[in-house]
């Protein structure tokens, strides 16, 4: 079984963002960067499949060369066999469609039976790249999976839907996006961290992959801080009926919601 896991490095969820006023760019100095937490479910699922059936796992990312440490620690040290970093100045400001094109070019270099993604990256929260890749490659996809069973040349995945779950069968090769609940990602052991440095890690450009990233369809124009939280007003009084009347009046006349 050949598995590809597409991952992204993101600022960790505790990052304090310094943004006093609207700005075109975020000041990212001092950000701690980690593996996107949803991608950890994808990596863990791939490793479990490999442990059960054998195979090879390739972790693929688009990002700066500094993602090496994250790939080593959170992909190679937990069981991925090799890593590919797509690093190219052409990709500065690339949008999801461009990232998907570039990933497709890298994925086409090999014959993967299964391609795994996290459901979304916690930085831009867009959640499209996995599905775009599936469409561009003409492969079936199942998104937001919380359970996976592999058959012979097929898979059965459980996916979350509003108020329930959907059980989907589909043929391999396929693209899946992984949701929390799919598994519990393991921590790497010390010996595996030490060995991760010896696993192959390839850094490639768009030219190496024979792809020209398309111009961005989406442009980020401004980041603005969330509006300050309003103040809370308490309607008090010993007479419950009077307090309720006052509340209704405020909701109607001031807040204008009823």
């Amino acid at each position: 079984m050949k598995i590809a896991v597409c991952v992204k490095q993101v600022p960790d969820s505790e990052t304090r963002i310094n943004l006093a006023a609207p700005a075109a760019k975020l000041d990212q100095t001092g950000f701690t960067r980690v593996l996107n937490p949803y991608d950890a479910y994808a990596v863990e699922e791939a490793v479990r499949i490999k442990e059960a059936r054998g195979g090879e796992i390739t972790a693929i990312t688009v990002g700066p060369e500094t993602v090496r440490e994250t790939l080593k620690k959170d992909c190679l040290a937990v069981g991925c066999d090799k890593a590919i970093i797509i690093n190219d100045p052409l990709l500065a400001g690339a949008d999801d469609a461009a990232i998907a094109d570039v990933l497709c070019a890298a994925l086409k270099k090999d014959n993967y039976d299964l391609i795994l993604f996290g459901i979304k990256a916690i930085d831009d929260d867009s959640g499209q790249v996995g599905i775009l890749v599936a469409e561009k490659l003409g492969l079936p996809h199942v998104s937001t999976i919380t359970k996976l069973e592999l058959g012979e040349g097929t898979l059965t995945a459980h996916r979350e839907i509003e108020g329930g779950k959907e059980i989907v069968d589909c043929p391999l090769p396929a693209v899946l996006t992984c949701q929390k609940g799919l598994n519990e990602p393991r921590l790497p052991s010390l010996p595996n961290i030490m060995k991760a440095g010896m696993k192959p890690m390839q850094i490639v450009t768009c030219a190496d992959l024979g792809v020209t990233p398309p111009a961005a369809l989406v442009e980020i124009r401004q980041y603005s801080p969330p509006p300050a939280r309003g103040t809370c007003r308490l309607v008090t009084g010993d007479d419950a009926a009077a307090a309720a009347r006052e509340l209704a009046r405020v909701l109607n006349e001031e807040a204008k919601v009823i």
Binding site: E69, L190, M194, G197
Partner: protein, 388 residues
């Protein structure tokens, strides 16, 4: 997730390799995910989280720098970083790992026979067996040379009599490294649980290191085969050499506890308002926070240099003494300052500084008291010993 990120005011991270940082971050995650959710309960109940021992072994956190069968022989700096992260969790967790790695596995790897190494090291490294180290006695702490526990020749073996007190992991241990006076000087023996005449007792009523087992080892005519003796260990310098390994880990470990206290106090001071302002805006509170971050940064510098020296084969006792002495006292000061900044909230187990402070009182005393390390460094620089 606690959101704990440690302190790196001076960018010491730049001096670490990818592997060193990855291991540090992984142990930090282990402590966040597996250890910290249970620590309040264990500290209250006076218990060690036994269920985590297999994971400590699987991850490779037991004796990582020991060389021998089933062991990884990683660097001193990596061992130090692991101690730092474990002690950020609790000094009891780091104590468990220090005893297993530095005081049990290390002497077996250095002073043991091949048979002893093959029997014990893989089991201890995996956490399938637990060890303890018996040097201190009720009447002989800072001066272990006065020990009364004796081993006499008995046919082709030995007869062991005496007792050891204040022994970490005493009641959990499958094997005890016991130091005893013999006609040939101080020797080390591997005493196994279940040997007739060997028993252990729990020390109750501790207010420090509550999430750690501390006890007594009692030897009443314990008959040992000659193969239980560590043949390479002769004289008092053998147990003292083990302590030098463990103290090294303590010098790093306590910096983790100090960082946890500082991190907690800093966040608290930014959120807590008095006189309509965050208390972090008051000069006196800032002075405390600055003192903490300065002292932590200095201690980090000591650790890193101590570690790089150790990895270059320079591991002299006075070098380790200076760092153990400085860093433990520093951590204790940080815990007290952090407790102060938390006001009344600081006296409950809702926050870590009170627990670290209580723990660090033990760390201040064990593995050579603060003052004994003063005397070791004093003897080194003056050439005049105040204690021998």
């Amino acid at each position: 997730m606690s959101g704990y990120r440690g302190v790196d005011f001076y960018h010491f991270d730049r001096c670490l390799s990818d592997e060193e940082r990855s291991i540090r971050d992984t142990v930090r995650r282990f402590v966040d995910q597996s250890f910290l959710p249970g620590i309040r309960g264990h500290f209250r109940d006076g218990t060690f989280p036994l269920d985590l021992i297999p994971q400590l072994g699987e991850m490779g956190l037991l004796g990582p720098s020991v060389k021998g069968p089933g062991c990884m022989g990683l660097s001193g700096v990596i061992y130090g970083l692991i101690c730092q992260e474990l002690e950020r969790g609790d000094s009891g967790l780091r104590s468990f790992a220090s005893v297993q790695g530095s005081l049990v596995m290390w002497p077996i790897s250095v002073y043991g026979t091949d048979e002893q190494k093959n029997t014990w090291l893989p089991e201890l490294a995996a956490g399938r067996k637990i060890g303890c180290f018996g040097l201190t006695e009720a009447d002989h702490g800072s001066d272990p040379g006065g020990m009364e526990t004796r081993a006499e020749r008995d046919g082709d073996g030995w007869l062991l009599n005496g007792s050891k007190l204040w022994i970490t992991n005493a009641n959990l241990a499958d094997v005890a490294v016991v130091w005893a006076r013999t006609p040939e000087g101080v020797s080390g023996f591997l005493v196994e649980r279940g040997m007739p005449g060997f028993s252990t007792n729990v020390i109750h009523g501790k207010y420090s290191l509550r999430a750690s087992d501390t006890g007594e080892l009692v030897f009443d005519n314990v008959r040992l085969p000659d193969s239980a003796r560590l043949p390479g260990a002769r004289g008092l310098k053998a147990p003292l050499s083990c302590l030098n390994q463990a103290r090294y880990g303590i010098a790093w470990g306590v910096v983790g506890a100090a960082q946890d206290c500082y991190d907690t106090a800093l966040r608290y001071a930014q959120e807590r308002k008095q006189f309509d302002k965050p208390i972090g805006s008051f000069q006196l509170v800032q002075q405390k926070l600055v003192t903490m971050v300065t002292e932590i940064t200095k201690a980090q510098g000591l650790c890193l240099q101590l570690g790089r020296l150790k990895d270059d084969g320079i591991n002299d006792v006075p070098l380790v003494s200076l760092s153990k002495r400085n860093n433990v006292a520093m951590a204790l000061d940080c815990a007290r300052m952090a407790r102060d900044i938390l006001g009344a909230a600081g006296i409950t187990d809702e926050f870590c500084p009170g627990r670290h402070m209580a723990n660090l009182e033990s760390v201040y005393t064990y593995e050579g008291t603060h003052d004994i390390h003063t005397l070791i460094v004093g003897a080194e620089i003056t050439g005049l010993s105040a204690y021998r």
